[in-house]
């Protein structure tokens, strides 16, 4: 039987790989997509650091017979918010840089073909 842990770990791996691949592209837009993937990957990763528990939401209940580690969830929430702010910023920066220079390459070089 496939374990949930394996699924999650492999998903983290795939998301990371996708993020890394995209972050290494030459245009700003795919790079931003890559950053989004890295953000997904890291959120799940952080979350997984609290181990996986099904049906035990971190809501305090005296009767509950166990709980999910709430701390990583709080960390992920913080990380999501920060990543959101950063992503928004980088999207706008990419656009602004494109508007200013006519170039949407991350290395700022003009296109080889001479088109903007």
């Amino acid at each position: 039987m496939i374990s949930l842990e394996l699924l999650v770990a492999s998903a983290i791996g795939v998301l990371t790989a996708a993020g890394v691949y995209l972050v290494l592209r030459r245009r700003t837009f795919p790079v931003v997509l890559g950053l989004a993937f890295l953000s997904y990957a890291i959120n799940v990763f952080l979350f997984a650091m609290g181990r996986l528990v099904i049906d035990r939401p971190p809501l305090y209940d005296k009767a509950a017979d166990g709980y999910t580690d709430p701390l990583p969830q709080a960390l992920v929430l913080t990380a999501i918010v920060i990543a959101f702010g950063m992503t928004a910023f980088v999207v706008v920066l990419a656009l602004r840089s494109y508007l200013e220079t006519g170039i949407d390459r991350v290395d700022g070089m003009p296109d080889e073909k001479g088109k903007p």
Binding site: I2, L15, A18, Y21, L22, P30, A41, T68
Partner: protein, 955 residues
């Protein structure tokens, strides 16, 4: 007292800079006064030193490093200090009259005094680290002096070369002295000089020696580091006279003398130092003969004499050291006089080229007299001081055996002396004697006393030491020699006549052959100039430009602006060190029981992988990949729900959509595709990095998830309700246990929005503005802006969504939800209005200012935290209580909720600010007047009159 001496010139360096406002005389006076004052102080210290005492001052500076303001003045220091200040004073007088009106005299004397101070510092430092400070300072200040005439390219190059060579030597000296200090256990010279045995026995002796000699040889221009010195001749002549007679270059000799007691006496020392000195002496003497530039000739002569001195100290015998000490004085006197004389010739005739000179003796009798006397001393002709020390040197050389060859050193020393005679006579004969010429650049005549007076003083010394060496120089030489040797001096006599010794014959031979060579100068010179000798400067230049080219090429190659490479490097490094760290230490797989995956989980996993693959494959098609990526976010949200993280799911869901909106807004103005531009190897590289990174992070996740842990979470679980007043532990952590994180987090969000605002505020100006003006939509546009159904539906949805937002906010402390999600929900509700009814419509109706919301949010959050300070509790201490009101029933109020209000406000402000600003840019790009109707719909069937959308006949 000693401290005053050391600091006077440096502090006094300000004086000429200030005095120049008064005038040139005042300026020179100021400089002279400072130097004179220092001389007076020195004179007051001299009696004690001459009595064999050592004057000491100790002031702690950096005791932990062992670097302190420890000064001492012994006879060696006294002699050098005397030369530095004495000749310095003469130079100042000379320079006053030498410098042209246009030359910035204030700056000149300031530099000169700084240099003087640095030199003085070297010779009175007890602490070698302090000595190093002064040492490098001489390099720096001499750089300024040599480059004083900025319009001379030779000056600039010469200054840089001097700085490079002597600076580098200084660094070598740093290494050597640090080693030496470490062997001796102290950085104080007085201690080091007591540790001869320990030092010479140490395995670090050789490296220390090599490094120290690196410093000394560069400074005193020993072959093959000599090449900087002739180029430093581009300096104003007073500078050359100062630097190359008594100071700068003598610093290297000073160091040899200073460390002689602990370093000399070994075979290594002998072969390194004596050989270098010997080679330099001969080589430079030969070169000097063929220099047509007066200062060039003197420069090589200086190098040769520095070799002379180096060789003497290299012999390692006390007697040779005595001779060395004596020759230091002699060389300083005649060489300074000659440099000044060369300056006079240059000043009066307008040239320093020997070929254009000659016959000046009658035109400039005073200058000629001075030149003849000093020149003869340099040639080693009795009864002048140069003769005595040369005789003593030849005597020492005559019984020095080099590698079993007794003849080698005497022969070469004689050869050096021979050429010395030749070039000295050339200076006298080719400049002053012979027939007068009628093509001098300027009509020559003797200068004023201001220029000839200072050399005359020195020439007087040359003569008096020559005639009465024991009286004039004897006591000083004796004391200095003791200081150098570190004990009693051997028997020696300072006199003109030493009897018939081998040295006498060598001397006679040198004079005879030297004169013969000079008489055949023209022929020999022709041969010499025909030789393709390697030019040290060219070599240096080539090395430097090669270095520059290499540096430029290397930097351009590595720092090529390719962000992909930078990121690849970063990720590659992380992969390498991460795996290395992991594999380099123990790892035992965990034994935590795993959870079986349900089929739905597998389907979700499949969806995630599929969507990821779709994005990867289609990432060049930007719009479509934005659709695909939505699925990834959705699946992750579902995963969070499945894995007991409702708060995360809510957040992920709402953040996701705002992000997509933002990217769509940006994509409107960006290219819609990315070209295919990576080569196959690049794809492999990126794929490889991606796979390894994925393996690493995924593997780490697996490793952690499969092992048990004892975390601090239990505490949160137990205290959330009782201590934090909430049952949603995640929320209590966010607003209470770790509220500080959240505080930082909303600030990040707020700053991001501010940054976005700043970026976009200016988008309409400059290049960006032009581009926006020229922008053409690259996708077809439907004429309808605000479809009716959408407008109507979102109007009903707005209050509903706001209710949901309020609900999520209020329950957050106890149930999934909270300020952040609520803020996002309300933002989304407002964004819906923006999308449906348009920017104008929504912005007009949304009265709150975004900046205010952000500022207010952060302030409320901070104020909530600060409130606790009023009650004497730490920042962000929360309070909560349960209240009961009639009708309403029991409810809870917690300060943490106020904090959450701050969070929500910031979120709303930031999100709306960012998106509104972005859409404004798009508006100006579209160049279309936004639709203005009360209902905001393009098609409003309730209105009478023509449709807003332009009519067109139906096809």
């Amino acid at each position: 007292m000693l401290l005053v001496l050391a600091l006077l010139p440096i502090v006094g360096a300000l004086a000429p800079a200030l005095a120049i406002r008064v005038g040139r005389n005042a300026c020179a006076m100021a400089a002279g006064t400072v130097t004179l004052a220092a001389l007076v102080v020195l004179a007051m210290l001299a009696p004690a030193v001459m009595a064999g005492e050592t004057v000491q001052v100790r002031i702690d500076w950096v005791p932990l490093l062992g670097m302190n303001l420890n000064l001492f003045l012994d006879a060696l220091g006294l002699m050098f200090a005397g030369m530095i200040l004495g000749i310095g004073l003469l130079i100042i007088i000379y320079a006053r009259f030498y410098l042209a009106k246009a030359d910035p005299m204030g700056r000149f004397f300031t530099y000169l005094l700084l240099f003087q101070g640095a030199m003085l510092g070297i010779v009175v430092s007890d602490n070698i680290l302090l000595l190093l400070v002064f040492w490098e300072l001489t390099s720096l200040t001499s750089f300024l002096l040599i480059g004083f005439w900025r319009d001379l390219p030779e000056g600039r190059q010469g200054a840089r070369m001097a700085l490079a060579v002597t600076g580098a030597g200084g660094l070598s000296l740093i290494g050597g002295l640090l080693i030496l200090g470490n062997i001796a256990g102290s950085y104080d010279l007085t201690v080091i000089l007591q540790n001869r045995e320990a030092i010479q026995a140490s395995p670090l002796y050789l490296p220390a020696l090599l490094l120290i000699l690196g410093g000394c040889f560069t400074k005193s221009a020993q072959f093959p580091f000599h090449f900087w010195l002739p180029h430093a001749m581009a300096a104003p002549t007073p500078v050359s006279a100062y630097l190359h007679s008594a100071t700068m270059v003598k610093a290297g000799i000073f160091m040899l003398a200073r460390l002689w007691p602990v370093l000399a006496g070994t075979e290594t020392w002998f072969y390194l130092v004596a050989t270098t000195g010997l080679v330099t002496m001969v080589f430079a003497a030969v070169v000097a003969l063929f220099k047509d530039d007066l200062k060039g000739l003197l420069a090589y002569s200086t190098i040769s004499h520095l070799g002379f001195l180096t060789m003497l100290f290299g012999f390692g015998t006390p007697m040779a050291a005595v001779v060395g000490v004596f020759h230091i004085i002699n060389h300083a006197t005649f060489k300074a006089a000659l440099f000044m004389n060369a300056g006079i010739v240059d000043h009066e005739t307008g040239t320093r080229d020997i070929k254009r000179l000659g016959g000046l003796a009658t035109l400039m009798p005073i200058a000629a007299t001075l030149a003849v006397v000093a020149g003869l001393s340099m040639a080693g002709i009795p009864p002048l001081n140069g003769f005595i020390s040369k005789e003593m040197m030849l005597e020492e050389a005559s019984h020095t055996v080099w590698w079993t060859q007794p003849w080698l050193v005497p022969a070469l020393a004689t050869l050096g002396a021979t050429f010395s005679v030749a070039y000295s006579f050339r200076y006298i004969v080719h400049v002053y004697l012979g027939r007068k010429r009628d093509d001098y650049p300027r009509p020559p005549h003797d200068p004023g006393i201001g220029l000839w007076g200072p050399p005359a003083v020195l020439v007087a010394l040359v003569v008096s030491i020559g005639l009465f060496p024991a009286v004039v120089a004897g006591p000083l030489v004796e004391q200095v020699s003791r200081a150098v040797i570190g004990g009693q001096t051997p028997y020696y006599s300072l006199s003109l006549w030493h009897g018939v010794t081998p040295a006498l014959f060598m001397s006679i031979a040198a004079i005879g052959i030297g004169l013969v060579i000079l008489s055949a100068h023209r022929q020999i010179a022709a041969v010499w100039h025909g030789l393709a000798l390697p030019d040290a400067k060219a070599l240096f230049d080539r090395a430097l430009s090669g270095l520059t080219r290499g540096a430029v090429a290397f930097t351009a190659r590595t720092q090529n602006g390719s962000l992909e490479r930078y990121i690849a490097m970063f990720i590659g490094t992380a992969i390498v060190v991460g795996f290395a760290g992991f594999l380099g230490s123990d790892f035992v797989a965990g034994n935590r029981p795993t959870t079986a995956a349900s089929p739905m989980a597998v389907v979700g996993w499949l969806a995630l992988i599929a969507a990821t693959a779709l994005v990867l494959v289609n990432h060049r098609a930007r719009y479509v990949s934005l659709i695909y990526i939505g699925i990834v976010g959705l699946v992750i949200s579902l995963g969070f729900i499945h894995l007991s993280a409702p708060d995360l799911a809510l957040t992920q869901i709402s953040v996701e959509v705002v992000t997509i909106l933002l990217m769509l807004l940006a994509l409107n103005l960006l290219p819609k595709t990315s070209p295919r531009e990576s080569s196959l190897p690049r794809h492999f590289r990126d794929g490889g990095l991606a796979a390894l990174a994925g393996l690493g992070v995924g593997g780490a996740a697996w490793a952690v998830m499969s092992r048990p842990v004892d975390s601090i979470s239990g505490y949160f679980w137990e205290n959330a309700k009782s201590g934090g007043g909430g049952t949603n532990v995640v929320n209590v952590i966010l607003v209470d246990f770790r509220g500080f994180d959240t505080f930082g987090e909303i600030i990040v969000l707020g700053i991001a929005a501010l940054g976005i605002f700043s970026l976009l505020e200016t988008a309409g100006t400059g290049a960006s503005g032009r581009r926006i003006l020229a922008w053409q939509p690259d996708t077809p546009r439907s004429p309808e802006h605000h479809p009716m159904m959408l407008v109507v539906a979102t109007r009903l949805l707005l209050p509903l969504a706001v209710m949901v937002g309020l609900y999520i906010f209020l329950r957050g402390h106890n149930q999934p939800g909270g300020g952040f999600i609520a803020g996002l929900v309300i933002s989304i509700a407002i964004l819906m209005q923006y999308m449906a009814s348009g920017y104008q419509f929504a912005a007009q109706r949304l009265r709150a200012d975004h900046h205010t919301l952000i500022g207010l949010g952060v302030l409320i959050a901070a104020a909530t935290g600060l409130g606790s300070l009023l009650f004497g509790a730490p920042f962000m201490t929360t309070a909560f209580d349960y209240f009961s009101l009639p009708i309403i029933g029991e409810f809870e109020l917690a300060t943490a909720m106020l904090f959450d209000v701050g969070v929500a406000l910031t979120v709303i402000g930031a999100v709306i600010l960012a998106l509104a600003q972005l859409s404004q840019v798009a508006q100006s790009a579209e160049k279309q007047e936004p639709l203005e109707t009360p209902s905001a719909m393009d098609i409003d069937p309730s209105r009478d009159g023509p449709p807003l959308v332009p009519e067109e006949t139906v096809k």
